[in-house]
C-alpha cells in the first residue's frame, strides 16, 4: 500500500475510535465520581432505601428507580400499540404517496426538541388532567402520555423497517393460499418481524427512561413512589438534572451514583435490544 493510503486509513480509524473513547471517558468519570459513595453506603442501601435526603446522609433512590420504570411502562402502553399500528399501516396498507407524506411527518415528530414536548405538556395536558381527573395534574399519567408520544417515532420506524425486511414471497405464498390481507399480516408478517418489533419497543423504552427535560416539566418531581396514576413522581434523570446545580460534596456524588444506576439500566435495555436483533439476523 502506498504511504499516503496508510495515513488516510489511520486518520479514519482514529476518528472512528474516538466515539469509543468518548463513551469510555464518560463511563470512567461517572464511575469515578459515583462509586466512592456507592462503596461507602453500600449498593443495598442506595437501591433499597426509600428516603432521599442527600444533605442529611440518606441516599435511597428506590422511589426514583420505581418511578422511572413506571413512566417507561406507561409510555410503552401508549406508544407501543400506536407505533405498531402506524407501522402496520405504513408498511402493509399505505400507498406509495401516502407513505411519502406519513414517513417524513413521523421523522419530524422525532426531531422536535424534548423541551417543546414538556412545554406543551405543562401548558395543555397538566391543566386538563387537573381539571377533569383530579390531583395536581403533574402526574404519572401526564408524564406517560408525553413520553408515549415522544417514543412513537422510534417504535414506528424500527417496526416499519422490520416489517419491510420480511421477504415478499412470504406474503405472496400466504395470498396464494387464499389468506386475506389481515390474515397475512397477523399470521405471517408480524410473527416474522417479531424480533425487530420487540427491539423497537425496547429502544423506545430506552428513550423514555433516558428522557429528562420533558419529564422534569410534567412529572412534579415528588420524592415518593406514586400510589396512583394521578400522583407526582421523580425519575432518575429528573433527580440528576433537578439537583445538580446546587449539589456539593456527598450530594454531588450521590447524583453521580444515580447516574451509574441509570447507565446500568440503559445498558441492559440496549444489550437486550441488540441481542434480540442479532438473533433475527443469525436466523
Amino acid at each position: 500500500m502506498k504511504r499516503e493510503e496508510i495515513h488516510i486509513e489511520w486518520t479514519f480509524r482514529l476518528f472512528a475510535f474516538s466515539s469509543l473513547l468518548f463513551l469510555f471517558l464518560i463511563l470512567f468519570f461517572i464511575l469515578f465520581e459515583g462509586s466512592p459513595l456507592l462503596y461507602k453506603v453500600g449498593l443495598r442501601s442506595v437501591l433499597l432505601e426509600q428516603r432521599w435526603a442527600p444533605t442529611k446522609g440518606s441516599f435511597g433512590i428506590l422511589p426514583m428507580v420505581v418511578s422511572s420504570f413506571l413512566v417507561t411502562f406507561g409510555a410503552l402502553c401508549l406508544g407501543a400499540p400506536l407505533g405498531l399500528f402506524c407501522a402496520i399501516f405504513l408498511s402493509e396498507y399505505a400507498s406509495r404517496s401516502v407513505r411519502m407524506v406519513l414517513k417524513p411527518t413521523l421523522e419530524l415528530l422525532a426531531a422536535i426538541p424534548s423541551v417543546v414536548y414538556g412545554f406543551m405538556g405543562v401548558v395543555y395536558l397538566v391543566p386538563i388532567v387537573r381539571e377533569y381527573l383530579g390531583g395536581p395534574g403533574f402526574s404519572l399519567l401526564t408524564t406517560s402520555l408525553v413520553l408515549g408520544i415522544m417514543i412513537l417515532p422510534t417504535i414506528t420506524s424500527i417496526s416499519f423497517d422490520a416489517m419491510q425486511s420480511v421477504p415478499g414471497p412470504f406474503r405472496e405464498g400466504s395470498y396464494a393460499m387464499g389468506a386475506t390481507r389481515w390474515q397475512t399480516i397477523w399470521r405471517i408478517t408480524l410473527p416474522s418481524a417479531r424480533s425487530g418489533i420487540v427491539a423497537g419497543f425496547i429502544l423506545g423504552m430506552g428513550r423514555a427512561i433516558g428522557e429528562t427535560m420533558a419529564v422534569i416539566m410534567v412529572a412534579g418531581n415528588a420524592l415518593s413512589i406514586p400510589k396512583g396514576l394521578l400522583e407526582p413522581l421523580r425519575t432518575l434523570t429528573g433527580n440528576i438534572a433537578l439537583e445538580l446545580a446546587y449539589a456539593t460534596g456527598e450530594h454531588r456524588s450521590a447524583l453521580f451514583t444515580t447516574g451509574v444506576i441509570l447507565l446500568l439500566i440503559i445498558m441492559i435495555f440496549n444489550s437486550v435490544a441488540n441481542f434480540v436483533v442479532k438473533k433475527r439476523i443469525v436466523r
Binding site: 426509600q50 395536581p136 403533574f138
Partner: protein, 267 residues
C-alpha cells in the same frame, strides 16, 4: 497543503494576540456573578444600571443556586457569588457583603379564599399531616404542595424558618426555581408554594403568616418574620473591579434600585 496549514496557524496567532490585548486592556473589567436564583434577577437589574453608568465594565450574571455560587467563588470560576442564605461551616472563610434583605412569601392562587396561615399550619401542610383544604375551611380537595429542590437557598431558609427540624414530606412536589413555583401556583387553584417576596406578582396571592401581612412596611418593621439576607461573596479582599460594583450596590443609588424591586435595603 503546507501553505494552508501556515495560513491557518497565522490566523490562530492573530486571534490569540487580539484576545490577549483585549483582556489586558487598561481599565476593562469582566466580572462573573454566579449564585442564587432568588438574587439573580435583582443582580441583573443592578448590573444593567452599573454598566450603563460606567464604561469598560462587562458583568455576566448567572444562576445556579446559592451553594453553586459559593462553590464557584472558592474555585475562582466566579468573581462574585450570590447567596440567599448565611454562610455556614467552611464557607465562613469567604468574605461576604450583606446587600439587602428579602422576605419569603407563602403563596396561593388568587381564587383561594384563605388569607392567613400560622407557621404551625404551614409546617403541618409541608410535613404532610394536613392534606386537604377542608381543614382550612375550604373545599374538600387535596392541597398541591410545592417546595424547592434540595440544596436551594430558598428551601434552606424555609426549612430554618418554618420546618423547625421536621422534614418536608416526600409526597410534596419539587420545582427548581422561584419562577416555576410561581408559575404552577398561578395556574393551579389548589396549590401552595413559597418564593422570594420580591418576585410576588398579581397572579399569585401572598398569605399572612400568624396574622401579619407580608407588606414592605411589616418587613421593615421586622413584624413579618420570614426574612433572609441576600449576600455577595468574594474570595479574600475584592479587587478594584469587584469593589467598584459592590460599592455601587451598597450606595444610595444601588439600594434605591433594590428597594424599587421590592426588597428591603440595608441602608
Amino acid at each position: 497543503m503546507k501553505r494552508l496549514l501556515l495560513v491557518f496557524l497565522l490566523i490562530l496567532l492573530v486571534f490569540l494576540l487580539y484576545g490577549l490585548r483585549r483582556g489586558s486592556k487598561e481599565g476593562f473589567c469582566h466580572l462573573t456573578l454566579i449564585g442564587s436564583t432568588s438574587v439573580q434577577p435583582f443582580a441583573e437589574r443592578l448590573a444593567e444600571e452599573f454598566m450603563a453608568e460606567n464604561k469598560g465594565y462587562l458583568l455576566d450574571v448567572q444562576g445556579g443556586g446559592s451553594t453553586a455560587g459559593i462553590q464557584a467563588v472558592r474555585q475562582d470560576t466566579a468573581h462574585i457569588g450570590m447567596s440567599s442564605r448565611e454562610l455556614k461551616g467552611e464557607e465562613r472563610t469567604l468574605k461576604s457583603y450583606l446587600i439587602c434583605y428579602d422576605a419569603l412569601a407563602v403563596i396561593v392562587h388568587p381564587a383561594n379564599p384563605i388569607e392567613n396561615l400560622s407557621i404551625r399550619e404551614i409546617r403541618e401542610i409541608y410535613a404532610g399531616r394536613k392534606r386537604s383544604w377542608r381543614e382550612f375551611g375550604w373545599k374538600d380537595r387535596a392541597i398541591d404542595v410545592i417546595t424547592r429542590e434540595e440544596g436551594s437557598g430558598t428551601r434552606s431558609s424555609f426549612e430554618d424558618l418554618v420546618m423547625k427540624g421536621e422534614e418536608i414530606a416526600p409526597t410534596v412536589m419539587v420545582q427548581d426555581s422561584n419562577g416555576s413555583v410561581r408559575e404552577i401556583v398561578a395556574n393551579d387553584p389548589y396549590a401552595i408554594g413559597y418564593i422570594s417576596f420580591g418576585l410576588v406578582d398579581r397572579r399569585v396571592k401572598a398569605v399572612s403568616i400568624d396574622g401579619v401581612r407580608p407588606t414592605e412596611e411589616n418587613i421593615k418593621r421586622k413584624v413579618y418574620r420570614f426574612v433572609r439576607p441576600f449576600l455577595f461573596i468574594t474570595k479574600g479582599a475584592p479587587k478594584a473591579c469587584e469593589q467598584n460594583f459592590i460599592s455601587f450596590v451598597l450606595s444610595e443609588r444601588g439600594q434605591g434600585i433594590l428597594k424599587r424591586e421590592g426588597l428591603i435595603p440595608v441602608l
